[in-house]
């Protein structure tokens, strides 16, 4: 709730600024002509625009402006009204009375020529036929196999039950005296002489008031495409409309500038009607502009969000690319953060172990990871082991693994002080056999890799961080 409200405020401010900019642009255009009368007219016109602009927001929102955040119900009413008001009334009334026993689960309407499946579900004959003609030989409700020859039967009982439900035509209040079943009413309504005239099934461009004659069908994207492609034309139409407004409001003032007493009286008599007409035109144009601004503002916000998301994805992709274990060439650079907390956790429970990220000896080679833990009887030393992992390459590799493993605890200040260990594989060690688990339960390395207090005293731990580098090569 609060977030939505917060969103509304900046949007409104932005719209105001946008409108002001537009007015400023017009003013600039007028000033180029250096005509004092036109400048006067422009000032008056600007004032009216400002007044109308302040009045427009609530009106636009009330009217269901396309871009403004409106409650779902208002939007629903707008949508329903737009598409089928007569049918909407009829639909609502039918829906209140529609019993689930008589509803087709496919078209969500009264069962028309109902059929019953052998698994006990009812559908309109045409709905189920359409579904099964798409190579779907099963019941939409429970997926039981259905054959058209043996599992689908006319449900004459239900058909008769529905035929006996009689009710008035929804247009009875307008004079229609027909009483019929829902199915019959459905056929009757299109030809009912008392039916309300339907709204046109076409969408007009919101700029129709300034002579844009585009018409599109509501179920397509034609209107949206038109709004995108023909924006320059719309701006041109708006400019022309404003010019006409300026001309219309300019003429009545001309006689009053003559100065004669009689003509002054005549001028006064002429003043009342033109401002009213001009105000009407201004308000329509400003309202149209406002709606368009709201739509554009919303689209801009959406595009900005998408752009930001794509940029984040790109950033992540770049960061992740070097880390792809497939191309690590058998090297694990293990950056251990918060070593103190880690040691405390490992000591607290002997079952606690921490694994590094994995690496491959080559894109189609062996897969490894490393493990640190602390033995319960030796809480002062760190154990380090290397583990083979299952990978999609195992079936074509030679087993057991034969290679050389180098372990290096890197000294952050002086590389010459780093601790190096090299171990060679032996075929009889089970740790190098083809792994049977995602991470082999057997590892190879040092039960007593390093004394924890020495790590700290000798300066391997900088800012509570430890770096262990492991290189695995095939020989």
């Amino acid at each position: 709730m609060q977030r939505v409200q917060a969103d509304q405020k900046p949007a409104r401010m932005h719209q105001h600024a946008h409108t002001h900019s537009h007015a400023h642009s017009l003013q600039h255009a007028e000033e180029k002509e250096h005509n004092s009368n036109e400048m006067t007219t422009n000032l008056s016109s600007t004032g009216r625009i400002a007044a109308s602009s302040s009045a427009t927001p609530s009106a636009a929102a009330g009217g269901g402006a396309s871009g403004a955040p409106t409650p779902p119900k208002s939007l629903a009413l707008n949508q329903n009204h737009h598409y089928a008001p007569g049918s909407d009334t009829s639909g609502e009334q039918e829906e209140e009375l529609l019993d689930s026993r008589y509803e087709c689960a496919i078209c969500i309407d009264w069962l028309n020529e109902p059929v019953l499946t052998s698994c006990g579900h009812r559908f309109c004959r045409s709905c189920l036929t359409a579904w099964m003609q798409k190579n779907n030989q099963c019941c939409p409700m429970d997926n039981k196999r259905l054959s058209a020859e043996h599992d689908i039967f006319p449900d004459n009982y239900t058909r008769r039950e529905i035929e006996q439900l009689k009710r008035d035509c929804p247009n009875s209040s307008l004079g229609c005296s027909v009483v019929a079943s829902p199915i019959e009413l459905h056929r009757h309504l299109p030809s009912c002489p008392y039916r309300r005239q339907q709204e046109p099934q076409e969408e007009k461009c919101p700029f129709a008031k300034i002579k844009c004659d585009f018409v599109g069908r509501p179920e397509t994207n034609q209107l949206e495409e038109h709004l995108k492609a023909d924006m320059p034309h719309h701006m041109q139409l708006m400019l022309q409309a404003f010019q006409q407004t300026a001309i219309a409001t300019w003429q009545p003032h001309k006689p009053s500038t003559s100065g004669a007493a009689v003509e002054n009286g005549h001028g006064q008599q002429q003043l009342p009607p033109p401002p009213q007409y001009a105000n009407g035109v201004d308000e329509q144009i400003v309202q149209t502009m406002y709606q368009r601004i709201v739509v554009l503002e919303q689209r801009t916000r959406e595009q900005e969000t998408r752009l930001e998301n794509m940029q984040k994805q790109l950033r992540l992709a770049r960061q992740q690319a070097p880390v792809d274990p497939r191309y690590s060439n058998g090297t694990i650079v293990w950056r251990i953060e918060q070593l103190g907390a880690l040691v405390a956790r490992l000591r607290a429970n002997a079952n606690n172990q921490v694994y590094s990220h994995e690496c491959y000896t080559s894109p189609h080679g062996y897969k490894f990871c490393a493990r640190l833990n602390i033995q319960p009887r030796k809480p002062h030393v760190l154990s380090l082991h290397v583990h083979l992992m299952q990978s999609e390459n195992d079936y074509h590799l030679d087993w057991p693994f034969k290679g050389r493993i180098k372990l290096c605890m890197v000294h952050p200040a002086d590389a010459t002080l780093s601790q190096h260990d090299t171990i060679m594989t032996k075929p009889e060690i089970l740790a190098f056999h083809k792994p049977r688990e995602a991470i082999s339960t057997r590892g190879f390395g040092f039960l007593e890799y390093a004394n924890i207090s020495n790590i700290i005293q000798l300066g391997f731990c900088a800012d509570d961080r430890l770096l262990i580098k492991i290189e695995i090569n095939i020989v």
Partner: protein, 151 residues
């Protein structure tokens, strides 16, 4: 009567009159087959507190074929890829015309509660979900905080 099928009109009406908790589906003002959807992250899941935007489109032969649904908000989930495409059986071979927009969106919300790394669409995410579920859940929570909370 417009050429829009009655079923879509009825579904839209019901979505407006009987909203589904945690789910908001609003038809586009220019295209009645296109819906702007918001799904909230389920409680007790790493997506809790997140507000996820999706887009849903009803194809020409709906309800005989499934709606097209895609996440617009980024989400760390083994069954949802980086383009927002969703791996969910009822959106593909298990579609049935008895399903509706509301049941599809409820299934997607349920998928957030119960990721299935054995049928992945994002292989790297699914792999981590299997090997180190705690870290995967932490990532999902981080992505929710980063991408789905400001929205």
């Amino acid at each position: 009567m417009s050429s829009l099928p009655r079923r879509i009109i009825k579904e839209t009406q019901r979505l407006m009159q009987e909203p589904v908790p945690g789910i908001n589906a609003i038809p586009d003002e220019n295209n009645a087959r296109y819906f702007h959807v918001i799904v909230t992250g389920p409680n007790d899941s790493p997506f809790e507190g997140g507000v996820f935007k999706l887009e849903l489109f009803l194809p020409e032969d709906y309800p005989m074929s499934a709606p097209k649904v895609r996440f617009i908000t980024k989400i760390y989930h083994p069954n949802i890829d980086r383009l927002g495409r969703i791996c969910l059986d009822v959106l593909k071979d298990k579609w049935s015309p008895a399903l509706q927009i509301r049941t599809i969106l409820l299934s997607i919300q349920a998928l957030l509660s119960a990721p299935n790394p054995d049928d992945p669409l994002a292989n790297d995410v699914a792999e981590l979900w299997k090997v180190n579920e705690a870290e995967a859940i932490r990532n999902a929570r981080e992505w929710t905080q980063k991408y789905a909370v400001e929205d």
